[in-house]
Every structure is written in C-alpha cells, then in structure tokens.
C-alpha cells in the first residue's frame, strides 16, 4: 500500500518535470499566426512596394499565361444576363505539349501525380502577392467608385490580374425576390452609397433600405484604412461590402481566405455572388457559417481583417449591432434573386417544351453519368447546403510553391449554386477555372467520369440555361 502511494507520487513528479521541460522550449515565431505590427514608416514601405510592382505583375502574368489561354473568344450569341458581356468559349486551361483531355482522363490519379501531369491551371490559383495578400479590386470597379464617390481603391503594390472578358459583366443586373415583375432594378448602374436611395426608393422597406445603406458604407479594412499599415496611397475611408459583391453579384475582386494560417498557405478567394442567398443555409467557402446574420456580423473581422481581430481593433473595426444593423443587412441580402432562367420549371428541371435537345441531353448527364446533381441539386437551387472535399491532392504533390503560395489540400469547400452560373466567371472558390468548359474538364478528371466530347458540350449547353 505504502509502496503504491510512493509510486503514484513519483509518477506525478515525473509529469510535472516533463511539463516544465515543454514550457522551456520556444514556440514557433511570434508572427506565424498573428499579423506583425508595422516596423517601417509608410513612405519607405510604399516606395519599396512601388518599386516591386511591375516585377510582381509580370510574374503573375507569366503564371497566368502558363496556366491558361485567356484570349477573348466569346461564344456566339451567348450573353450574360444583363446583355453587357459575352460568355467565353472553350476550355482555357493549358495541357502539356502533346497531351489531350482524353489521354489525360485515361490516367489514374496516382499516375498523374507521379508523372506531374495535372495541368497547372487545375491547381490552386495564387494571389498576385501572397506575402501581403488582401483585397484586390478590378479596374472597372475602381474607376466607377472614383467617379461616383471619389473613393480610390487602387493599391500601390499590386493590380488586378485577370482580363475584363474573363470576369462578370459590369455593372451586373440586380434582381429582387420582392419584385420579380420588374426584372433588373439597377437601372444599369453600379449601386453605391451615392445613388442607392434614388434607385431603390419605393422598391424596398425602410429596414431593407437601411441594410442596403450599411452594405454600401465603407469601413476600415486591412489594406484600406488610415494607418501606416495600408496599401492605398491616401488614407482611405475603407471598403464597403458591395465593393466586391457589386450589385449583390460579384465583380471577381479577390482576397486570401481568412480561415487558414500560415500566410504562405492561405488560398485565393474569388468573390462569390450573393444572388439566391435566400435559399443558402451555409455561408463562407470554408467556414460553413450557419446564418447570413452570423456571416454578416463577422465579416468585419474576416473579409475585412483576415480573421485577425487584433489587427482589426488597431485599424478601427466596425462591429455592427446584432439586433438592428446586422438584421437589416441580412434582410436586404435575403431578397436578392437569381437571374431569370425561363427554361426551368418551378422545381429546377428543364421544361422540355422550351429546352433544346442539347440542353436536355446535358440535364440527363447532369442528373446521371456526370454526377453533378449529387451536390448541385436542382430542386434546392442547385446546392446541397453542404461542404465537400474533392481531394484534388490525389493528383499533385502537396507542399509545392507557386509564386510564394504553398499549395496545401483545399479540404472541404461549400457547394456553390449553379443558378445563373454563366454570369460569374471565373469558377471554383479561388477562380482557378476561366470557363464553364474548364469546369467540365476539371470534374471529368477529378470524379473520373469518362465523358465524351459530345457529352461535355451538352453539359455546357445545359449550364448556360440555368
């Protein structure tokens, strides 16, 4: 008995001793999770950034040219919903010399990985400047905000990297679930803090109007604020929600995911459309947030401040009041409708009296051989309100670096809706696929579908009708 008490107390001592030993070891460096405080004056950082800018952009252009053919080759007669931009044709991801899509699809994932055959364009797409990251806006959005608001979202360290014709039409039309009779209610304008009241007066409730005002109000953001730690030449008033979600759709502005560390492994995020949000039960590509209220409330610390609440506090975070402001913003977002798809019946299936044979063939594939509808369920707005892991890392070596970006597995990502999908290139959560034809080739490979050329074309025709 006495012996066992002694033994027990001795083992306790050993545990305490080993605990002390662990505490004595240094953790990883201090800024591996948190954003470091700036150590240099603004003018020094700005001069360095400006000096690097053209090399940074040239490197990104070279990367894009290796990955894709981004030439302007629109489909004849196929326009986005507002009629302001044509939909681009064909698969644009480049194959290795001598390779064909059919030959590639014949290899197993492990063979593709071993031989390094996965097209570079199928791998995660890097941000233009990984170590800094942050929000990058397309030039058309920047120009229009300067015109309307005198607010300048240009960065001195980086520019937007994709050509206009591979981004959504601008300004995109806006459809409301409360006024389906009217069609696009944007009057062909980018809705801003300046014009929203005039355009929306009479169409919205006071609560929705106030929600819209808040969604259009600029608040400080990591790269656009008044401190020395910013990437705008002038002290900036900040960024509004709808600066990326232009007219509640997307202008293809991009960012880094707020949900991953270290910085080198944060993947690029392409702005997602807010159309059809009323049917969406989970929010955020990676976070699976369960209500739009939760998402709206927390974006001030994620989209705005990279999931770093300490940095947010320093630069003047705006935390909207849950009971009023958040609710009003959420109610505004929840009346944003999809663009019209007149060939779909109320359950999301093609009306055979309206659809072409090609579209109908595409729908049969979508529901069957191509396995799309397993996640993109037509009757629930082509979503399943779940996240799925495509396990793309079966096809490439995890940990490879591309433009300072360390490619780790994507892990589970939210199923995005396919309603109005022709309006929102580029595709996938990071915008790595320029066209709908690219998405078909991607899933043909990832899911091992063995689709024929004709079947791939039918799937594209079907998606254009959604």
């Amino acid at each position: 008995m006495a012996k066992s008490v002694w033994a027990a107390s001795m083992s306790g001592l050993v545990l305490v001793a080993s605990g002390v030993a662990t505490l004595a070891a240094d953790p990883l460096p201090p800024d591996v999770t948190h954003r470091p405080l700036p150590t240099q004056p603004f003018s020094v950082v700005k001069a360095k950034d400006e000096a690097q800018k053209s090399a940074i952009m040239n490197r990104q252009r070279a990367l894009l040219a290796r990955r894709y053919d981004l030439s302007d080759r629109p489909m004849r007669g196929i326009m986005m919903s507002g009629g302001r931009r044509a939909v681009q044709s064909g698969a644009r991801v480049r194959l290795a010399k001598g390779m064909t899509w059919e030959a590639l699809a014949a290899f197993s994932p492990s063979e593709i990985r071993r031989r390094g055959l996965l097209p570079e364009g199928f791998k995660p797409l890097p941000h233009v400047k990984q170590p800094t990251g942050g929000q990058v806006f397309p030039n058309r959005e920047i120009r229009e905000l300067i015109r309307q608001e005198r607010r300048d979202l240009r960065r001195f360290d980086v520019d937007f990297d994709l050509p206009d014709h591979h981004t959504p039409e601008f300004p995109p039309p806006l459809f409301l679930t409360t006024h389906t009779e009217l069609g696009d209610v944007s009057r062909g304008q980018l809705i801003t803090i300046k014009n929203f009241y005039e355009i929306m007066n009479g169409l919205l409730t006071p609560v929705q109007m106030e929600g819209l005002r808040l969604l259009l109000t600029p608040f400080p953001q990591e790269e656009f604020n008044q401190t020395e730690d910013r990437k705008s030449a002038d002290q900036s008033l900040g960024v509004a929600c709808l600066d990326c979600h232009a007219n509640f759709h997307t202008n293809a502005a991009f960012h880094l995911t707020p949900d991953v560390r270290p910085q080198a492994a944060r993947f690029r995020l392409d702005t997602s459309s807010l159309r059809g949000l009323f049917n969406q039960q989970i929010h955020g590509s990676k976070r699976s947030i369960r209500s739009v209220e939760d998402f709206t409330e927390f974006e001030q610390r994620t989209a705005y401040f990279n999931g770093d609440h300490a940095s947010a506090a320093r630069k003047g975070v705006n935390l909207p009041d849950r009971a009023n402001q958040v609710a009003m913003m959420a109610q505004m977002q929840s009346i944003v409708d999809f663009p019209p798809a007149p060939k779909l019946d109320p359950r999301g299936r093609l009306d055979p009296t309206l659809a072409t044979q090609d579209e109908l063939a595409g729908e049969r594939l979508f529901m069957g051989k191509a396995r799309c509808a397993e996640c993109h369920v037509p009757q629930v707005a082509f979503m399943d309100n779940n996240m799925h892991d495509l396990k793309l890392e079966r096809f490439y070596d995890v940990g490879a670096t591309s433009n300072d970006f360390v490619m780790l597995p994507d892990g589970p990502i939210k199923t995005f809706t396919l309603r109005g999908i022709k309006d929102s290139p580029p595709y996938l959560h990071d915008g790595r696929l320029p066209t709908l034809a690219d998405t078909v080739e991607f899933f043909n490979l990832v899911l091992g579908l063995k689709l024929t050329q004709q079947e791939k074309a039918s799937l594209v025709a079907y998606m254009l009708a959604l």
Binding site: I78, M79, E181, P340, T356
Partner: protein, 213 residues
C-alpha cells in the same frame, strides 16, 4: 333645415377624416385660404409626375419612330405614342382647374431625349429600350403609390387602369431588350416564353431558342 346642416357637417367631417387618412407622413401643408376641397399634396404631385412622364413618352416615341433600326423597336414606339397620347388626354380631362399639370416633359426626360438623339442604329435601339425599362419601372411605383394614397377617386381609378397598361408596356420592353441583347427575358417577360421550332438539335453555341409570345 337643422337636419340638413347636421348632415352637411357630418359629411365634411367624414371627408376631412378620409383626407387625413390618405395623407402619409411629411405633408407639406396647405397655404392659408386654401379651399376645403383642394386636392391633396399627393394627387397634385402624382398629376405633375405622371403628366410629365406621359409627355416624355410621346416625345421619345416620336424620336424612336424615326430613328430606330429594329422593326420591333419602331412598333413598340408606335404603341407608346398611341397609348400615352390616349392616357395624357384622359388625364387632362380628369384634372381639376386647381391642379397644375405640366404641358411637356420634365428636365430629366429632356436630358434623356437629348442623349438618345445623339445615338443611331443598334446603339439607339438599345439605349431607348433600356431607358423605357427604367421609365416604366418608375411609372409602376408611382401608380401603385397613387392607388394607395391618392385622394381623388377618379385619379385613383385612372392610376389603376393605367397600371395594367404600363405593366404590359414593361413586359413588351423586357422582351425587346432580351431580343436586342440576346439574353433570357427578365421580369414579366420571363414567364411568357414559348418555343421557337428548331430544325436541328446538335447546335452548340447558338442563342437559346426562346421567343416572346
């Protein structure tokens, strides 16, 4: 005699009560000495806006009839000229002397017309039709506003009748814009599509075979 006087007082009270109910927040108030049966602020504003819009429609339709390239746009412009001239006349007949109605388009519409007058061909067609979309959307809001809160029963009835026509105009405009831009019809036009007979099935990259009925 006393009974008659009481009745008259009662009627006045009822009318006053109804006027009060019909006026929303922020009434501008009446000038001193305004007659008791003076039309309310809303009726006056409604007449002003709808009359100016009506004149603008006729004036822009005249421009479109001579300028448009597409026969469907010309046809639409003729319908606008016809329907809005008729509506303008009907409105003029309803207006009491005390309401001042404009006899031409307002400055905003004059500016739109001037902008359109600088365009031609397909550019004109699309710009005119897109301006028509916005004008008819606004007109619908205005008519619904008068139906809800106007005072003059005849004006409100006029608004109700006009609303159906304006909805139909909006649907026509949506269908034409869809055709001009090769997009799926929006709004009301989205729910009245019919299939155009197609000869071959394997046509990739062709426009969706949707026509407006």
């Amino acid at each position: 005699m006393r009974i008659l006087a009481t009745l008259a007082t009662l009627t006045t009270l009822i009318l006053l009560a109804r006027d009060a109910a019909a006026q929303g927040g922020n009434p501008a108030g009446m000038e001193p000495g305004t007659p008791a049966n003076h039309p309310n602020t809303q009726d006056r504003l409604f007449v002003q806006l709808i009359a100016a819009g009506g004149h603008a429609e006729v004036s822009m339709a005249a421009l479109a009839e001579s300028r448009a390239r597409s026969s469907r746009v010309k046809e639409f412009a003729r319908a606008m000229a016809r329907d809005h001239s008729k509506a303008n006349k009907r409105l003029a007949a309803l207006i009491e002397d005390r309401i001042q109605a404009p006899d031409g388009p307002d400055p905003e519409h004059r500016a739109t017309r001037a902008r359109l007058a600088r365009l031609s061909g397909a550019q004109f067609d699309l710009a005119y039709m897109r301006a028509q979309l916005v004008d008819h959307q606004k007109a619908i809001q205005l008519l619904e506003w008068e139906i809800n809160g106007g005072q003059n029963a005849q004006l409100r009835r006029h608004a109700s009748e006009t609303l159906l026509t304006v909805m139909h105009h909006l649907e026509m405009a949506q269908a034409i814009v869809a055709e001009l831009t090769r997009t799926a019809p929006q709004g009301l036009a989205a729910s009245s599509v019919t299939r155009r007979p197609v000869k071959t099935s394997a046509q990739h990259g062709r426009p969706p075979s949707i026509v407006h009925r």
